[in-house]
């Protein structure tokens, strides 16, 4: 993507129509979250039992939930937490994973071996179990779930980034830079990092979807966001009790999560195609 030039990259990406559509959808949702205070028609937490379980229309475009809160407003505010936490987990775990992965691969030797065995041990557990253990130690709550997810997620990135760096490190131009006396830092930042960046972008886009899903999952299980904070997973959980009388309580947030996850996957796939094309 960097070697490709931005306009060329764009013209190739635009060919993937579905991905472009998804990109607009994701951007719209993100904008909705950012501008929620202006866009939301009502206070997301204002309980008005008289107005519970209203159908769509009027003051409440998507109706109200079992406590009479505006569903649309809750969805908009929920975006901030659901997407925000996923981005947070992604950026922290990716940064830590990249730093450690590059260090490990570049240094090699005993430290590298030790780190990889450590990763092996932790990655042999399903990540759900690991996060639950961490939550068990730290207690539940949104911040702890985020910390738990970061602690587990970065291990995956260390692995992947290490293998990416190992393959770049063996390329002749890295030896050529070493031969010319270039310092390790410069080699890492000018030669190695830019060459793994495209793969990192694809990887993180694909993973964002699953992070959103996971985070909502923890809220659904009752570990993450505590009521009355609006969050998609928590909203599904609250709506669960009214699945017969008011299925839309689960439908709206569920649909949103599904669409977002699909969107991130399609965008990631398209990015990968575009970048692969540029390699071959």
């Amino acid at each position: 993507m960097i070697g490709l030039g931005f306009d060329k990259f764009l013209s190739r990406f635009v060919k993937h129509k579905a991905a472009v559509l998804c990109l607009f959808f994701v951007l719209a949702v993100i904008a909705g979250g950012i501008f929620a205070p202006w866009l939301a028609p009502n206070d997301p937490n204002k309980i008005e039992l008289k107005l519970k379980l209203l159908g769509p229309g009027g003051q409440f475009p998507l109706g109200t939930d079992h406590l009479g809160r505006c569903i649309l407003s809750r969805l908009l505010y929920g975006t901030r937490i659901s997407l925000g936490s996923a981005f947070l987990v992604m950026s922290f775990s990716l940064t830590i994973g990249t730093a450690v992965g590059i260090f490990s691969a570049y240094r090699g030797g005993r430290i590298d071996n030790l780190l990889m065995r450590l990763c092996d041990i932790f990655l042999s557990f399903p990540s759900l179990v690991l996060v639950l253990v961490i939550i068990g130690v730290l207690g539940s709550g949104m911040v702890n779930v985020i910390i738990g997810m970061i602690l587990v997620q970065w291990l995956w990135y260390v692995r992947i980034i290490r293998s990416l760096v190992l393959s770049i490190k063996e390329r002749t131009f890295v030896s050529a830079a070493k031969v010319a006396g270039t310092s390790d830092m410069k080699i890492i930042f000018r030669h190695i990092l830019p060459n793994v960046l495209p793969q990192l972008i694809v990887l993180s886009t694909l993973d964002l979807g699953s992070l959103i899903l996971h985070f909502s999952g923890y809220s659904f299980l009752g570990f993450g966001v505590q009521p009355p904070t609006p969050e998609w997973g928590a909203m599904i959980e609250e709506g669960r009790r009214f699945i017969r009388s008011a299925p839309e309580l689960m439908f709206y947030p569920g649909m949103l999560i599904t669409l977002i996850v699909i969107s991130f996957n399609l965008i990631g796939d398209a990015l990968r195609d575009v970048l692969d094309e540029s390699v071959t």
Binding site: G3, F173, H191
Partner: protein, 331 residues
């Protein structure tokens, strides 16, 4: 003119650490490079030429390779244990030109970025000054339109041009020693000779000592003042260029000279067989299996130098002791 020793390599041994075993790749190699002179290093693929070059630069990773021996630059031992010091020497005092110019450049950076990066590693200059130095160097290597070249990406240039750029990058600090590991192997013949010509001119101009690695006898004949022939990790024969081409002593060198294509109708003599694999290297002469005049005691031979007369040294039992042998008998 007084000959000045620039680099002095003595008893260089390199072994690969593999599953608690040490596999020796370069064995007891000694040579010295003189100011303004070219030492040609020749030998079959896999005999350890590139590893020798990399070990001189201190570029072999310590946890995979064991390097012994002494390398002195202008009389001073090279500080291989100090990563930072040896890094500063690379590219400034000891420079190297790599075999494959096209893959030696990062596809994401322009030629200019490569050049200025290296200049700014070794000299405290601004980006602009570095650019000027680069353009001057490129002009010296007969690259037309250096400004345009500086802004181009590696894939926009030909192999020959990239090799010139790499030589320019290697030489801007006027290094004492230039190591050229098969600098022309991947280029076509006309470009190859232009580049060799330029290398020769630059060597005269900067009085750089050069180690030229090649498996092309023609290149060596054209460029080298002295030739070292390598086989199975040993330098089996070393002599001034003329001497080695007129009077090769080691059976391997002779085979090599004979397998050189000439414009005659005779059939080409080819060295039979393959060099022994790394894992199988044992005591005795590594050339034993392919040698026409092999004897039993060759397997016990410790590969010490056997004859060294008039700067012509060789490691072969044929020349051991008083048996100043009937060379023609087995050639």
């Amino acid at each position: 003119m007084i000959k000045e020793k620039v680099m002095d390599v003595e008893g260089l041994c390199v072994s690969l650490l593999h599953r608690q075993r040490e596999i020796s790749v370069v064995r007891d190699v000694s040579f010295c490079l003189e100011e303004g002179k070219v030492l040609g290093l020749i030998g079959e693929s896999g005999c350890g030429k590139s590893i020798t070059c990399l070990s001189l630069l201190g570029l072999l990773e310590k946890d995979r390779w064991k390097v012994e021996g002494s390398v002195r630059l202008k009389g001073k031992e090279l500080p291989y244990l100090n990563r930072e010091k040896i890094r500063r020497l690379r590219g400034s005092s000891v420079a190297m030109v790599m075999q494959n110019p096209i893959s030696s450049f990062n596809p994401l950076l322009t030629v200019g970025q490569h050049f200025t990066e290296t200049i700014r590693t070794h000299k405290e200059v601004t980006r602009r000054e570095a650019g000027q130095i680069a353009v001057e160097m490129l002009l010296k290597l007969n690259l037309s339109e250096p400004e345009k070249v500086m802004g181009q990406y590696p894939f926009q240039l030909s192999g020959g041009m990239l090799q010139r750029v790499m030589i320019a990058i290697a030489l801007f600090m006027c290094p004492h020693v230039l190591i050229a590991d098969e600098p022309t192997t991947s280029l076509d013949v006309t470009v190859q000779y232009q580049i060799l010509k330029e290398l020769a001119e630059l060597r005269d101009h900067y009085r750089t000592a050069m180690l030229l690695v090649s498996h092309d006898l023609g290149v060596i004949a054209q460029m080298a003042d002295e030739v070292a022939v390598m086989y199975g990790g040993y330098v089996v024969e070393q002599a001034p260029s003329r001497e080695i081409f007129c009077n090769p002593m080691h059976p391997y060198t002779r085979g090599l000279m004979k397998s050189r294509p000439a414009f005659t109708k005779d059939r080409l003599n080819v060295l039979e067989g393959y060099p022994p694999s790394l894992m199988k290297r044992s005591r005795g002469c590594p050339f034993y299996e392919r040698c026409r005049c092999a004897r039993k005691d060759c397997l016990e031979f410790d590969m010490k130098e056997t004859g060294a007369t008039g700067g012509h040294s060789v490691r072969c039992l044929l020349y051991a002791g008083e048996e100043e042998v009937k060379m023609d008998a087995c050639s």
